[in-house]
C-alpha cells in the first residue's frame, strides 16, 4: 500500500505499558476508522509522520518498526496514499461515506496520519481473547522512544 521505505518514520504516542491493541475482528473503511464511526477500537492502528501528532492515547512515544511490519506481511498505508484514497472516496462516494471521508481528510492531514493494516492469522484465536492476544503481537512492532 504505497511505497514503504526505511527512510519514512512513523510514530504514535500511547500508554506507558504499550500500544493500545486493535480489535482484529472489526473490519471497516479507512474513513470509518479515522472518524471513529464504528467505535474506538477496530483492526487498524494509526501512526503519524510526526512524533507529536497522535497523542490521544497516552504520553509515551513509540516508533513503528516499519521494515519488520512489512517483512511480517502487514501493510503500511502511507500518509499520501491514505489522503489520496480518502479524496477518491470523498469525490466519488455518496451519502454517508462521502461525509465521513470529508472529515477523515481533515483529521488525517492534521495528524499526518498513516495506518497499519494488520494481517495476522486469527483463525485459531479465541474471539474473547483476541484483543489481549493482539496487544502482545502489535507491541513487537513498536520501539519505545521516551
Amino acid at each position: 500500500m504505497g511505497e514503504t521505505t526505511d527512510k519514512i518514520n512513523y510514530f504514535r504516542k500511547d500508554q506507558k505499558n504499550g500500544i493500545s491493541p486493535p480489535n482484529l475482528t472489526m473490519d471497516c473503511t479507512y474513513s470509518e476508522h479515522i472518524v471513529r464511526a464504528r467505535g474506538k477500537r477496530i483492526k487498524f492502528t494509526s501512526v503519524s509522520l510526526e512524533p507529536n501528532r497522535i497523542r490521544d492515547f497516552g504520553p509515551t512515544l513509540y516508533k513503528l518498526k516499519s521494515d519488520e511490519v512489512i517483512s511480517a506481511g502487514h501493510q503500511i498505508v502511507e500518509h499520501q496514499f491514505l489522503l489520496n484514497a480518502l479524496r477518491n472516496e470523498a469525490q466519488n462516494g455518496v451519502k454517508a461515506e462521502r461525509v465521513r471521508a470529508l472529515q477523515a481528510i481533515r483529521y488525517a492531514k492534521r495528524r499526518k496520519e498513516g495506518i497499519v493494516d494488520w494481517e495476522f492469522d486469527i483463525s485459531n484465536i479465541d474471539r474473547k481473547k483476541i484483543i489481549a492476544w493482539a496487544k502482545g503481537q502489535v507491541n513487537k512492532y513498536f520501539s519505545r522512544q521516551s
Binding site: 472518524v35 507529536n52 490521544d56 469525490q91 451519502k95 454517508a96 470529508l102 481528510i105
Partner: protein, 244 residues
Amino acid sequence: MDSLFSCRNCIHNCSQTLSLGFGDGFCLKHDSVIENPYDTTCKYLHRKDLPYFVVDEGVREHASEYVFFTNMATLSDKKPLSLVRYSERHVWDNRHFSPIIHSLSQYHRMNPSWVFVQNFAGSADGIRAITHASLVRHYLDNCGNWKSSYRLILALLQEIHKTPYIADSELVLNEGYNRDEIKEDAFWEIIFSRLSALQEYGWHAGNEEITWITDKVNGSLTDFDWNSLSMELEDIVHKNIDKY
C-alpha cells in the same frame, strides 16, 4: 483518550470545538460548567463534527462505556465528575468571566427555549456561529417534532454561506501545531457543524435532499475551497429555500 469523544466535540457544549473556545465549557444536558472539556465526556455525547446518523455505531459504543455514570466523567481514566453549577461565585473564584457561558447558563430558564436559540442567529463571530449551530442541533434533538424547528433551520440556512470570523485569542493552541493550522481547523469545524445541523434536520424531516446536501456541492468541499463552496451553498439555498 480520544478527543473526538470529548465534550469539546459535543453539541451540548455549544460554544467550543476541538480548536476553538478557550477555557471552561458549559453543558446544556447536565446544566453544568465543564472545567476541562478536553478530558470530559458522558453517555449523552452527540458529536459536533458529523451528523449523528453517520457515526451512530461509534457513539453507541461510547455511550455504553459511560452508561453507569450519573453525571459527566473523565475521558482519560473514567473517573466520575461532580456537576459544577454556574454562579457569580464560580466566576469570582476562577477570576474569569465568559459572556457566552454566562448566557448559556440561562438556557433552561428561558421559556420557550427557541427564543433563546434564535437570538444567536446571524452572528459573524466564530464562537457565536458554532454556538448557534449547536443550539439548533440541541433543540432538534429535544423538540416535539421536526416542524417546531423549521424557523430555526431557515435562520441557519441564511447564514450557511457566510464567513465566520475567528479571533486568535479564542483558539486552543496545542503543542506541535501552528496557529494558522489551528485557525483553519476551527474554521472548518464551524462550517461542518452548520452542514451537520442541516443534515440532521433533513433526517428528522425525512427529506433526502437536505440529509445529503453534501452530495449537492461539487469539488469545492473536497478541495476545502471556501470561496467556491460559499458561492455554491448560497446558490443551493436560494434555489431551494422554498422547498425546504
